[in-house]
Subunit: 247 residues, 2 copies
Amino acid sequence: MNRNLLLISNSTNASEEYLAWPRSYIKDFLSKHGVTKTLFIPFAGVNLTHDGVEKSFDLYEERVRKIFKELGFGLHSIHRELDVVKAVNDAESIVIGGGNTFYLTSMLQKFGLMEAIRAKISRGIPYVGWSAGSNVACPTMMTTNDMPICEPLSFNCLNVIPFQINPHYLDANPAGHAGETREQRILEYLTVNRDAIVVGLREGDLLTVEGDTMTLTGKRPIRVFRFGKEAQEFQPGENLDFLLKTS
Amino acid sequence: MNRNLLLISNSTNASEEYLAWPRSYIKDFLSKHGVTKTLFIPFAGVNLTHDGVEKSFDLYEERVRKIFKELGFGLHSIHRELDVVKAVNDAESIVIGGGNTFYLTSMLQKFGLMEAIRAKISRGIPYVGWSAGSNVACPTMMTTNDMPICEPLSFNCLNVIPFQINPHYLDANPAGHAGETREQRILEYLTVNRDAIVVGLREGDLLTVEGDTMTLTGKRPIRVFRFGKEAQEFQPGENLDFLLKTS
């Protein structure tokens, strides 16, 4: 598939400014592909303000636009468009921000945007996603960490990579807390989805997918889970193309 | 509604033995209602062994049966029954254990057990649930912490209480981690479900519902969330009947 994806685990590392760590990577990626402006999809950001979902999208657009402007790119949000499918069809690049993956998936499905965005990606249009925006690039949204705050039509997503990402992957629970660890949750997923591959993408990491090549950027390894096999870690710089092979 | 429910946040506190903390409460609750044996529903426990879901249910039954035997109650698991609806209809009491809420919900829906269990509960049959087993007592499964490992027919659940429980409620993220806090997730839920009430049930806490009265047992307060209002904390011993009023 002729795809150009920047799939980012998290917008912001603890105690850093919003989108601080990935911004230089976003700049390099969009510049490399000659992008001057981007269509922003804010649908995961339902609660940036308590004044309702629409106001939250306004605020989300403003927050991200400011940063993209500093990086030299124009940005406007799809929630201001009447014909959202046309907005996608006309876009030079697409950026989907983080938040709640269930709400994002639900909105993309409701407006027929899954097919439209997938078609654009397959024509090589650069795509940037972080957190929920990385989750929806997967075959399904099933390895999200988010709370099911609404019911999407299905769990099917863009399916522009053949594996599942678990963003914000972390190794331990808070001290004194007894819920399932992230690894236990992913193993549960694999128990009932045995052919799937899950990539635990730690905070501060991102994946760049260009056609059939994939590279990891960041300070920490990814953790790759398959049913019935030991989890494996891969460092930044190692070849990850094999993870795209089942597509 | 003529209901008798013991809704437990978590089976096991960190560093304790399995079901250690709630077992005396389970014993008192079942004894009070004259129960001698119980039907166990293990469907949330998909990954207790790596030998597949059925083996996992066997192991889950064994683990819980041992403890219930010590408490003086017989227990057998519904996954051994051919006619699962009849098993529910014949049950003297029903116990649903924790694990993955999506898988549990999916199985209960697939086998027509939501209606059957709800009907039993409305006839006063004692019900005990922990973690996922408390989540499915709610109107929907939407405030679970679990990963969507499979797609249920819908998010609708037993609806034998009128509010949502968030089990394993916790206040902070692990140090250095930047994902949404539990409170942020619940506020996202309320933004798109404005009439709902969410009870954050901390580990080591349980709710006893008998008809139209509800009491909290445990060492920590519950945290009650409503759209557009400050979250409120209620201590063990305070009157919680108002939370049942919208039913």
